[in-house]
Symmetry: C2
Subunit: 609 residues, 2 copies
C-alpha cells in the first residue's frame, strides 16, 4: 500500500507540458487556464486520472492550484506546502506563490487585461469557486470561460483511466443504520429546508447514504459516485456499472435507481423541468451541474449538505466499531514501537524502513483478530530529525533519512478497517533527547491532555476547545500553524467535516463526533513533535452540584506516549493522573496479546510516573 512518489523527472517535464498547454489554449482562443487540485467530487485525495496539477507542475501536495497564462504561470500553496512546492516546482516553469498572502484570484486579477478569456473546467470547480473567480475576472473586464473538455487531458499522453474499484456493501452491523432509514432522515431535513431534492457530489456523502464502500482512490473507502436524493420518491445513484457485482447491484437496486455518471446532466435537466427546488452545497456541487440546473430553469437552493452532520454524528454501532479498530491498530503500534526501540540503536533504520515495518505490523494485527487491514488511511508521515518539522512531509528516495542518535522521530499513520478508520501520531526519542525537546514535548502533551479532559456544555464550538491545546505553548511564547483536530469518518475519509478543532471551527461539537486531538511543536531544521489520539464526543458523567448536562471526550487511540520525553515536574496532578490512567488503559488493552518480549517493553513504556 505504501508507494514512494518519485518526483524527479516530473519536475523536469513541467516546462514542456506547460508550453504544450499554452499551445492548446491558443488554439481554443483562451488567454489562460485554471488548474485546481480536485476531481469532480472535490476529493482531498485524487485518483491518478485527476492528478492534473501534479502532472502539469510537479507539485504533489494534497491542496493547491495553478494558473497558466501565456506570459506567466503560478502554483498557489498554503503554509504547509511552501517548502515542498519550492522543491518540486521548476522555477523555469512556474512561480510558487503563498496563497495566504496572494490568493489565486488576487494574483489573477492583477495580471488580466480587459477582454481576456480565462478557461476553467466546470467539473473541477464548485459553484462557489466559479462564482468568485468569475467576479475576479469581471472586475477587470475579463471573462471566465467554462471548457467542454479539459485541455490538459488532450496533451497528457498516457493519462491513467478513471478507477474502477469494486464496490462492497457496508453491512448494517457496522453501519448501524439501514439505507432506507438514512434516506428518511435526509427527506426530513429536505422538508425543513423546503427542498424537493438534494444533489450529492462528495464521494463520502454518497458512500454513507447508500452504505457502500469502494476502492477507487488509494486509502479512501468511498467509491467515486454521485447521487440525487428526493424528499419523496426513489433516489438515483450515478456510478460506473463496472464497479458493481451482480449481488451489490441487486442490493442497491432495492433502494435506488442506478445509472451511469454520464446520465447525471440529463437527470439535472429533469429536476429543472419538474420545477423542483434542488438543494446543493455551493462549496461541493460542481459548477457544471449547478449552472446546468439554473440554465435549464431549475431552482438551486444553496445550503449545507444535510448528510454532512448526519454522517458526523456516529451511532452506537459505528462507535463500537471504532473502539475495535483502535484496539487492533493500537496493538500494531505497540509492536512497532517496541521493535523500533530495540532496533533503532543499531542505526540501520531509515524513514522508509520504519514505514514498511509499521505496515507489516498493521497487517499482522488485523489478521490476529480475524479481521483484515483494508488499506492504510493515508500516506504515512515519518519524519526523522529535521524532516519531522515539515508538517505534511512525505518521504521520497531523496529525502529519506536515517533515524540518527539523539534525535526525535515523528510518525503519523492510520489504518482503514471495515469497522473504523484510525489516525495516530507518536513522537519518540532516538537516543537521548535534549532538555528543549523534553520541554516542548511536555507542552504538547499537556495540550493534548487538556483537550482529553475537557468538559463543556452543548453548543461549544471546536474553536473553543482548540485553545486548550495551545495554552501550554502560548505561555512559553510558542504556537503551531495547524488545527488541533479534524473530523474522522467511519471506514471513510480520514479528514471529515464539518466538526474540527481549530481557530475556524465554528461547528458545535455533538455526541458521536470523532475527532483527532493532535497539538504539535516544530523547530525548522531541527525536529518536529506531534502527539495524536482520536477522541469521540460523549455525554460527560454528571457531577454533584452540576447544573447543566456536559459533554466530554472518550479517547479511542490506545498507544503508549514516550515517557522519556515527558518532563514530569512540568505536569500538574490532574495531568499526571490522566497520563497514568491512560497508560493503564493501554497496558490492559494490549498486555495479554503481545509477545513476552513486547510485554516487558509495554510494562516499562506505560509505567506510572
Amino acid at each position: 500500500m505504501f508507494q514512494i512518489f518519485d518526483v524527479r523527472g516530473e519536475r523536469a517535464a513541467s516546462v514542456v507540458r506547460i508550453a504544450a498547454l499554452r499551445d492548446r489554449l491558443r488554439a481554443e482562443g483562451l488567454d489562460g487556464f485554471i488548474v485546481p487540485h480536485s476531481d469532480e467530487h472535490q476529493s482531498e485525495y485524487l485518483p491518478p486520472s485527476a492528478e492534473r496539477l501534479a502532472w502539469l507542475t510537479g507539485f504533489t501536495g494534497s491542496a493547491g492550484s495553478a494558473v497558466v497564462l501565456h506570459d506567466a504561470a503560478a502554483v498557489f500553496v498554503d503554509g504547509r506546502y511552501t517548502l515542498q512546492a519550492a522543491a518540486e516546482v521548476d522555477p523555469a516553469a512556474a512561480t510558487v506563490v503563498a496563497s495566504a498572502e496572494t490568493p489565486l484570484g488576487k494574483w489573477l486579477s492583477a495580471r488580466l487585461k480587459p477582454g481576456d478569456r480565462i478557461g476553467y473546467d466546470p467539473w473541477l470547480s464548485t459553484v462557489g469557486e466559479a462564482r468568485k473567480l468569475a467576479k475576479r475576472c469581471a472586475d477587470v473586464g475579463a471573462v471566465l470561460v467554462p471548457v467542454a473538455t479539459n485541455p490538459i487531458d488532450a496533451i497528457w499522453p498516457r493519462r491513467p483511466t478513471a478507477p474502477l474499484g469494486p464496490v462492497d456493501l457496508h453491512p448494517q452491523a457496522l453501519a448501524g443504520e439501514a439505507v432506507v432509514d438514512k434516506l428518511r432522515r435526509v427527506a426530513t431535513k429536505l422538508g425543513e429546508r423546503k427542498a424537493d431534492a438534494l444533489v450529492l457530489a462528495k464521494a463520502d456523502a454518497v458512500a454513507w447514504t447508500f452504505n457502500i464502500r469502494g476502492a477507487d482512490v488509494a486509502h479512501n473507502a468511498a467509491p467515486l459516485a454521485f447521487a440525487i436524493l428526493r424528499r419523496e420518491g426513489r433516489p438515483q445513484l450515478f456510478i460506473d456499472a463496472r464497479k458493481l457485482s451482480n449481488a451489490v447491484r441487486a442490493a442497491l437496486a432495492d433502494v435506488a435507481d442506478i445509472a451511469e455518471p454520464a446520465a447525471l446532466p440529463e437527470a439535472i435537466d429533469g429536476l429543472a423541468a419538474a420545477k423542483l427546488r434542488v438543494l446543493a452545497d455551493p462549496e461541493e456541487i460542481p459548477a457544471a451541474l449547478g449552472e446546468r440546473l439554473v440554465a435549464a430553469g431549475g431552482v438551486l437552493v444553496e445550503g449545507e449538505d444535510p448528510t454532512l452532520l448526519l454522517k458526523a454524528r456516529k451511532n452506537t454501532a459505528e462507535i463500537d466499531g471504532a473502539r475495535k479498530a483502535h484496539l487492533r491498530d493500537g496493538l500494531a503500534m505497540v509492536r512497532f514501537l517496541a521493535w523500533l526501540d530495540r532496533t533503532a540503536p543499531s542505526g540501520t533504520i531509515d524513514e522508509i524502513g520504519a514505514i514498511e515495518a509499521l505496515e507489516r505490523f498493521r497487517s499482522a494485527a488485523a489478521h490476529d483478530d480475524g479481521s483484515a487491514l483494508v488499506d492504510i488511511s493515508f500516506d504515512t508521515i515519518a519524519g526523522a530529525g529535521p524532516n519531522g518539522a515539515i508538517v505534511h512531509y512525505r518521504v521520497n528516495r531523496d529525502s529519506n533519512r536515517k533515524l540518527d542518535q539523539d534525535s526525535l522521530f515523528l510518525i503519523d499513520s492510520g489504518g482503514q478497517y471495515r469497522d473504523g478508520t484510525t489516525d495516530v501520531t507518536r513522537t519518540v526519542a532516538i537516543g537521548t533527547p535534549t532538555a528543549e525537546m523534553r520541554d516542548r514535548f511536555t507542552r504538547v502533551l499537556r495540550g493534548m491532555i487538556a483537550v482529553s479532559r475537557a468538559r463543556f456544555p452543548a453548543g461549544t464550538a471546536g474553536a473553543q476547545i482548540d485553545v486548550l491545546a495551545r495554552l501550554p505553548q502560548w505561555e512559553a511564547g510558542l504556537d503551531y500553524d495547524h488545527g488541533t483536530g479534524h473530523g474522522v469518518g467511519s471506514f471513510l475519509s480520514v479528514h471529515e467535516g464539518p466538526q474540527r478543532l481549530s481557530k475556524t471551527g465554528h461547528v458545535a461539537l455533538e455526541p458521536g463526533m470523532i475527532l483527532s486531538n493532535e497539538p504539535g511543536s516544530y523547530r525548522t531544521g531541527a525536529f518536529g513533535i506531534r502527539i495524536e489520539n482520536l477522541v469521540v464526543v460523549t455525554p460527560a458523567v454528571a457531577i454533584p452540584g452540576g447544573e447543566r448536562p456536559m459533554l466530554g471526550f472518550e479517547t479511542l487511540t490506545l498507544v503508549p506516549i514516550d515517557l522519556r520525553l515527558v518532563d514530569v515536574a512540568q505536569l500538574g496532578k490532574a495531568e499526571r493522573d490522566w497520563l497514568n490512567a491512560y497508560h493503564a488503559r493501554v497496558r490492559a488493552a494490549h498486555g495479554k496479546r503481545v509477545s513476552p518480549e513486547d510485554r516487558a517493553w509495554l510494562e516499562a513504556a506505560t509505567r506510572a510516573v
Copy 2:
C-alpha cells in the same frame, strides 16, 4: 443621574395604545407593524423620543422588538429579558415570545396571509434587517411596506422632542489623533475597498471621527448625528445646528461641511447622481438611506464600517486616559466598598441607597483630581440576594430589596469621564457567605484570572479567550449565559464592537482594544456573582525561548476583590500570585488618597492570601 424607571401605569396603558395603533394601521391600509427597539442610529440606549417600544408595550429592556397585527401582538426578547418582559408586558396587550426559539420573522410568517401588507419604519430598521423581513413576507405572498412617518408618533400624545444636548470638542490631548488624520486613514480604507464614500449612521462612529462628544442620550457621550466621508474631498456632518455653539461650529467647519439631518436624503441622492461607489454597513445603515441610494441609481458597496476597527484600537493618549479614569473610578469604588462594609451590618441599606451612595463617591472622587464625572456610563445594576441572579436587573421601587445578612450583593456600574469610560462589577458578602457561594465565587474569580493572565498570538479571536473564563465552571458542571467580555469605548459607548469575548467573538484581538473581563455565576432565586475588570490588549513581554510575538492584557480596573468569598485552597499558585499582585497594585494606587479609616479597610481588603 440615577433615575428610577417606574413601569406601573405604563403597563396598564398598553392595551389602549395598541388598540389606537391598530386603528391607525387600518386607516393606512396596513395589516401589521414592526416596532424595533432602535432609533435612526441603531443606538443601544435610546433618547426618550425613540422609546416607542417601551411606550407601546411597557417593555423597557435594552433589546427587543414587537409586532402588532390586527388579531395578535407579540414582544420578542432574548434570554436576559424573559423574566423582566413577563413582569412588564400586559398579557391582555401582547404575548411575550422568546426570540431564541421563535424569532420575529418566523412568528410573523406563520401568521401572514397572501396579500397582507406589513408596515415598518425604514429609519429604524437597517438595510440588512429590512431585507430579511421582506424575504419572510415574500415567502408567504405578503409584502413589507415602508411607512413615510411612524404611525406610533401620530398616536403618542406627549411624545418627547428629539434631544438637543450641546456638543463639545474632544481635545486632541485626549483623542490622541486629529480629525484630519482620522479622515486620511478612513480614506485609505475606502481606497482599499474601491469605494468613494462612506455613510456613517452610528453616533459613536461619527463622534470618534470628528472628535466630538455630546449629551443627547443618558450615559452616552456620542451626539446623535450622521456623516458622509469621502475618499477625496470634504466630509459632510449632519447634525442639528442647535447643538453647536459658535466655537464648536467654527472648529468643525474647518474639517467638514455641516448640514441639518433633514438634508441627508438629498445628499444621498447627490452621491447616486455622481455615480459614486458608496460603502455602508448593511447592519448599520437605515433602510431608508440604503434603499434611497439604490433607487436613485447609486452603487451601494456593502461592507463593514472601517471606523469600527480604527476606533477599537485605542492610541497611547486614549490608553493613558483610560488608566487615569480607572484610578479615579477605583478610588470611588474603594470608598464605596469600605462604606458598605461599615454600614451594611446595620441592615439599613437597600439597592437604591447603595446606588445613590456609589454615585456620590464617584462625583467626589472625580472632583478630588480636578476632573468631573460627566455621567455614569449606564444604569447601575445593584442586585441584592436573588435580584443578583437577574443578569440585566434594574431596580424600581417595587423590586428594591434590603441587603440582607448572609447574602450576596452584586453591583455593576461605571462612569463617563472625559479621559475614559469605566465599567466595573464587584460581588460582596453581606454577613457570612455559604460554602456554595464561596466555591462559585472562586470559580468565577479563577476564570477572570485566567483571562487576565492569558498570553496569546496575534490573530487569536475573542471566542478563543472566552473559553478560559468558563473552564473552572465547566469542570463543575456550571456555565453562564452571557459573553465574557464586550468592547468599551474611550469616553464613548460602554458597549463597543467589533471586539468581544464570547462564543461568537470571531474578531482577532489587537493591541489597544479595551474589553471587559466579566465571568459570572447565577442561581435563580438565590444569588448572582459577577466580577468584572476592564483590560486593554498589549504586546506581551517576550519570554526567553519564545519564538512568536505574543499579546496579553493589562488590567485597568483597580478595585479590591472580596477575599471573604475566596476559597484560597481552590487557587493554584499562579492564581494566588496574580491575586496578591493585583491587590498590591490596588493598595498602592489608592492607599495615599483615602482617609485613615478607609486606609485600614483597604489594607485588610487587599492583604496577601
